[in-house]
């Protein structure tokens, strides 16, 4: 039993070593059978190690925020507007889902029907933009926008630090949103949503929630996009 336990102990150590360093050489005193089994088990261990790497939540991801992937209660899909726009084009719900999927989204017919019912708050601005493109309308016509001072849940007043609320009400924020809107050819409301989400992601990552510095970082973000002509 002791021998078995020693062998298991050694095997576990070898598996851990080979999982983190697949190119390692056979250590002295390790027989071929043990080494081969360690290699086979290390493949499984490596897969688990890969799977255990935690992906940050969307709202903590500045790339997702910049791309409009964070649902925003201040820029939410309006169920009736979606239903009306879809019917005006003659597209079925499944046809709309297919068109979105052709653009790279993963949408089911049931999702479209749910959004046209009542539950559309999880639809991010980027998807609203995709819906608008498919339906030949504008994102703003499919959305319900709210002012920055209203608290309405989601990515909103209740989760926004007060220092950032000050920044959101600063005229500089509106000007930055105007620059972004012009650059990307999107509406002022959608640009504000993008900048708000981007700013919040910075805060979630441990950024300094100071209004001026937050606006400076957004200015740098917009400036970089302008420089690249993105």
């Amino acid at each position: 039993v002791t021998h078995e336990m020693d062998r298991d102990e050694l095997l576990a150590d070898l598996v851990a070593a080979r999982a983190s360093n697949p190119g390692m050489q056979v250590p002295e005193g390790v027989d071929a059978a043990l080494w081969n089994e360690a290699g086979e088990l290390a493949v499984v261990a490596s897969a688990l190690r890969h799977r255990a790497l935690e992906v940050p939540a969307l709202e903590d991801d500045p790339v997702a925020a910049s791309l409009g992937l964070v649902p925003d209660a201040r820029y939410a899909l309006e169920p009736k507007a979606l239903s009306k726009a879809r019917k005006a084009t003659g597209l079925t719900a499944s046809g709309l889902a297919s068109s979105l999927n052709a653009r790279g989204w993963q949408i089911r017919t049931a999702d479209i029907l749910r959004w046209e019912g009542r539950h559309a708050r999880d639809v991010p601005p980027a998807l609203i933009a995709a819906l608008a493109a498919v339906l030949g309308t504008t994102p703003d016509l499919l959305s319900r926008t709210r002012g920055v001072a209203t608290g309405d849940g989601g990515n909103d007043a209740e989760s926004v630090p007060s220092a950032l609320q000050i920044a959101l009400n600063d005229p500089r924020f509106a000007l930055l949103a105007r620059r972004l809107a012009r650059l990307r050819g999107i509406s002022q409301a959608m640009a504000e949503s993008t900048l708000r989400s981007r700013g919040l992601a910075t805060v979630h990552r441990g950024g300094e929630p100071d209004p001026e510095r937050w606006l400076d970082s957004l200015e740098a973000f917009v400036g970089a996009l302008e420089e690249r002509g993105e």
């Binding site: 598996v15 890969h50 799977r51 790497l53």
Partner: protein, 181 residues
Amino acid sequence: VDSTPAGPDWAALYLRHRDAMYRTAASVLRGVGRTDLALDAVQEAMTSLMASPPPAAAENWEALMVTAAKRRALDIVGSASVRRHGGPFDPDRDDRTVDDPSDEIAERVDDERFGQIVWDKLSILTDSERRAVWEYTAKDRPRQDVAAELGVTGPRVNQLVTSALRKLKKALEEEGAARDA
């Protein structure tokens, strides 16, 4: 009705492949203990992809995006190494990071799918095996901490881990989903 986008819908593509991009970058950066920089690698990868998208529609966006994230992570590893050793940037080493054989790219993409398959198989394990293999092997936590949480000895954790990995390997082989060492 316009159902054909003028260019790539980056938001859709990123939403679809960001897990694979992030895990690949984090996996590379784990080697230098800097998984905290994985988001930076992903951000830089997306910035460069969006600035210079492929001329034609990419056949495999996942491979393209994952590779970009991996290269950015390797850039960070390279610069971290320079900082640590205080030496000059080594063009030979850096050139090696740029050459990325297509089979290695495929392997990186496959890591994500294989990881999901193994994850789905965890349900065949006993509770103790699952906790031991997840906390000790997958999350790389200290063995004594895991042993204390499970109320067992350190060597017993090793036994549970070995047993769990053997069961998982067998289940994967039975499904024809095993990978070569």
